[in-house]
Amino acid sequence: MTPTGFPTRLYRALLACYPAEFRNEYGPEMLELFRFRAQKENAALLWMELLADIAYTAPKEHLDVLLQDLRYTFRTFARTPVFALTALLTLALGTGVNTAIFSVVNAVVLRPLPFPQPERLARIWEMNQKLNIPFFSTSVLNYLSFREQAKSFEAIGAYGGANVNITGAGEPERLAGGTLTSSLFDVVKIHPISGRCFRPEEETPGRGRVAILSEKLWRRRFAGDPHIVGRSIELNGAASEVVGILPDSFRFPPTAEIWAPMPIDAAHENRGNHVVTTVGRLRPGVTLAQAESEMKTIAAGLGNTFPQSNEGWSVRMATFYDWIVPEEIRTALTILLGAVGLVLLIACANVANLMLARAAGRSREIAMRITLGAGRSRLIRQLLTENLTLGLAGGIAGILLAFWAVAGLKRILPPSVPRVSEIGVDGMVLAFALLVSIFTGVLFGIVPILQATRRDLAGSLKEGGRGSISSRPILRNTLVILEVAVGTVLVIGASLMIRSFVNLHNVQLGFNPDRLLTAQISLPRRKYPQAAAIAFYQDLLDRLKSASGVTGAAISSGVPFGAGDYTDMPARAAGDDGRSSAEQTQADWRIVSDDYFKVLGIPLLRGRFMTRQDAAGRPIVIVSAGLARRLWGNQEAVGKELEVGDARERLTVLGVVGDARNNAVSDEPSAAMYFPASAMTWSTMTVAIKTDGDELKAAELLRRKMKELDANQPIFNVRSMEQWVAANAAEPRAYTFLLSIFAGLALLLACIGIYGVLSYSVAQRTSEIGLRMALGARQWNVLQLVIRQGMFMVAGGLLLGLGGALALARLIRGMLYGVSSHDPQPFVGVSVSVLLIALAACLLPAMRSTRVDPVVALRSE
C-alpha cells in the first residue's frame, strides 16, 4: 500500500463535498479505490475524471438526502396537522407583515431615485436666520445670479408651479402644471419620451407658447395620440404647441401634468419675490458641503450688492434624497419596520415553543434514532430541513399575505409619503421575504435542535415515552417572558401614538370646519383684469348666499390646510411719529372677503370686520390676536398702523380676530394678516361655502352658479374642510393605525404563547397535580399553582418590557404631539391591561388543571 501522500490527502479533503452519512459509509473505500488507481493510471486524466465525478455526484447525494428529509418532514407534519398549521399561520403572519412593511421601505427609502447619478443632485433653498426662515424658495433673479456665479455645479435649473385651464376639445379642465427653465433638463437628466425639451430662447416672455405634456395626461386626455407632438392645444384660452411628452418619473412639481417654459424677464423681476424652486447638479468630485459653502459666499455677495432685497439671506442645500425622502419619514418607517421585526420575533418564539413542546413528545423517537446509529449531524440536518421547510412554507404564505397587505398599505399611507405609488412586491422584496423565512427557520429551530440532540439518551428511553422537557422549563419560560416584554414595548408605543393622535384630533383649530365646502377657482388675468375679477367673485358670492341650504359664502386666497396660495411676509409696528419699529416679524397673510370670518367661524375679538365699502378708503388689515400681541403687546391694536413687505406699505388695523391653525394641526397658530378681497384678488381663489346640510352637495350648486357666470371656468380641488383637516393628520393617523395593529398582533401572539406554555405544562404535570389533590390540595390551591407559574413569567416580561418601552418612547418622541414620552399614564395603563389579558390566558389552562381526576392521573403512571 502506498503511504498517505499529498494526492490522497487532497482526495480525502474533496470527499468532504459529500453528505456526512455517505462519506462515513463509503469514504474509506473510495479512498482505497483512489489509491489503487493512482498507482496505475495517468495522474492528470485520473484527476480530471475524479473532479468531474465529485462535481456530478456530490450534489446528487445531497439532493437525495434532502428529498429523504423532506418526505420525512411532510410525513411528520401530516401526523401533527394542528401543530403544523398553527406554526405555519404564525410564521405567515410574521413574514407577511414584515414583507409588507419592507415593500414600503424598499420603495420609499431604499430604491434609488430615478435620475442618473442622483447623489450629485442638490436642492438649493434660500434662508434667512434673522427672520427665522429656515427654508425658502429662490427669487428668479437670485436663481440667475446663482447660475451665473456658481462653479460647483454642472447645471442649475428652476421650476415653479403654474396651474392652467385646458379648453378646446373635451371638458374644460384645471390641470396642475409647472414652468421650467430649459436648464432643468440638464440637472435631472430625464428626457422626453417623445419630442424635445424646452429651449433657452423660449424663456423670453412671449416666445414660449409651447407646452410639454406628462405621459399620464397624454394618455388620459389625448388617448395616447402618437401625433400629438407638433399639434396646438388651448391653455388658459391661448394656443400652445405641444413640443414633447415627459415620462411620469418627471415630477417637478410633484403633481404637475403639463409644463410651459419659465418666462424670465430680468428687467421686471423683483429680487425679493421668492417664487421658484432651484435645483442643481454638482460637478463630478464636488461635495455638497463644498458647493454649499460656495453658494453661501455668493449669497453674501448678493446681500452686499442688493441690500434692499438680499440682506440677511443665505443659502442652504440638501441632496435630492434628503429632500425627497425626508428624515421624519425614514424614522417613521424604520420604527414600523422595527415593530414588525418584533412581531416576527414573537412569532418565532411561539413556534420555537411549539417545537420544544413537540420535541419533548419526540424525544423518544430522537433518542431511538441516535441509538440506532443516526449521527448527531445527520439528525441536526433532518431537524433543520424540517424547520426550513416550515419557515419557507410560512414565507410563501406570508408573501401571499403581503400582496394583500401592500394593497391595503397603499390606501392607508397618505400621498405626503413620497413614492407611495411605487410600493409593490418586487424581486428585492421577494429576496427579503426569502431571507426572513430562512432566518426564522433557523431562529425558531436552533433552540429545539440543540435541546433535542443534547438530551440524555438513556433517560429518554427509560422514561417510557413521556418527554422529559418539563424538567427544564427554563428555556420555554424565558421565551414567554421575552414575548410578553416585546408585546409590552409595542403596546406602550402604540398607546403613546394613540394618545398623541387623540390630542391632534382634539386640538383647538381656531375655526370650525363643520359643514364647510371649499373649492378653487382660477380666473385668467387676460379675460378678468383685477376689477373684473373682484366683480366676478362678488357676483358669485351673492348668488351663492341667496341659494337655499347655504348659510354663508366667502372667498380667500387660501383656506387653512387647503391648497391655496399663502405665504408670509415681514410685518412691523408703525410708530405714531411716522417711524417704524426695527423689530419685524414674519406673518402669514391671505386675502379674504368680508364674510370669511363668519363662514369659517373665526371669532372677532376687538374692532370690527371689514365691509365691501372699506376698499374705497385707506388700506386696512385685520390681524390675528397672536400678531397683535407680538407687535403691540397688551396695547389696543385696533386703529394702530403696521408696515408690511419690503415696500413697507402702511395699513390700519380694523379688527383683531382669533388665532387659527394654518399649516399643520400640530403647529401652533401662526401670526396672520388678512387683506380685503374687495381691494384685490389673487389669480387663484378658494371659495368656502357654509351649508346647513351635507356640504359636499354644495359642489353641484357651485358648479351651476359658475356656469351661469362663465361656462368655461372649471372649479377644482373640491373638498370639505373636514377632508382638508383630516388629510393634514393623515400621516400620524396612518402610523398610529399601523403601529396599533402590530401591537395588537404582538399582544395576541404573546397571549397564545402564554396559553400554549401553560397548557403544555399542565398536561406535563397532570400526575403531580393528581398527587397533590390526592394528598388533600383543594382546586383553589391547584388553580393558584398554575396561575402563579404563568403570572411569574408575565411579571418578568412586563418589567423587561417597561424598560424597552422607555427606550422606544425616546425614539418616537418626535412623532408625539402633546404627550410626554415619560408620561406615566400609558405605562401604568398598559401594564394593568397586559396583566389582565395575560391572566385570562393563564386562566384557561389553570381551570383545566382543576378538573384533573387524581385517580385517573395516578393510574396512568
Binding site: 463509503y26 473510495m30 482505497e32 479505490l33 489503487f36 475524479l50 465525478d53 455526484t57 437525495d64
Partner: protein, 121 residues
Amino acid sequence: MKKESDLIAAQFLPLPQAMFHILVALAEKDQHGYAIMQDVAARTGGKLKLSPGTLYGSIKKMLEDGMIQEIETRLGASSDDERRRYYRLTRFGRQVAAAEAERLSAMLSHARATGLVPKRT
C-alpha cells in the same frame, strides 16, 4: 400473470446504465467495489470506467432498494480483502436485472425489425 415482485421490479426500469453494469458484475460472484469497477471496465473493453462517486452512489441506492446486500466477510478472503465490503445480488436484484435485460433485448429486436440494426446471422 406477472408476480407482484415483477411488477415492483418493473418500477425501476429503465435502470441507469451504471446500476445495470453493477448488477451484471455481481451476477457471477460477490465482489467488492474496486473489483466491480474493474469487472465493468473489462466487460466493456475499457470504455466504461465507473468513477468512485457513481459507483458508490449506485451501490448506496441499490442497497436501499434491496437489489444488492452487503455480506459480512467472504469465505477464504485474504487479510487485505477483509477491510473491504463485499456485495451480493439479491433475488430482487436478479429480477430487476432480468427485467432490464428483457427490456433491452426487446428494444434490440424492434430495432432489428425496422432494419436499423443488421439481423444476427
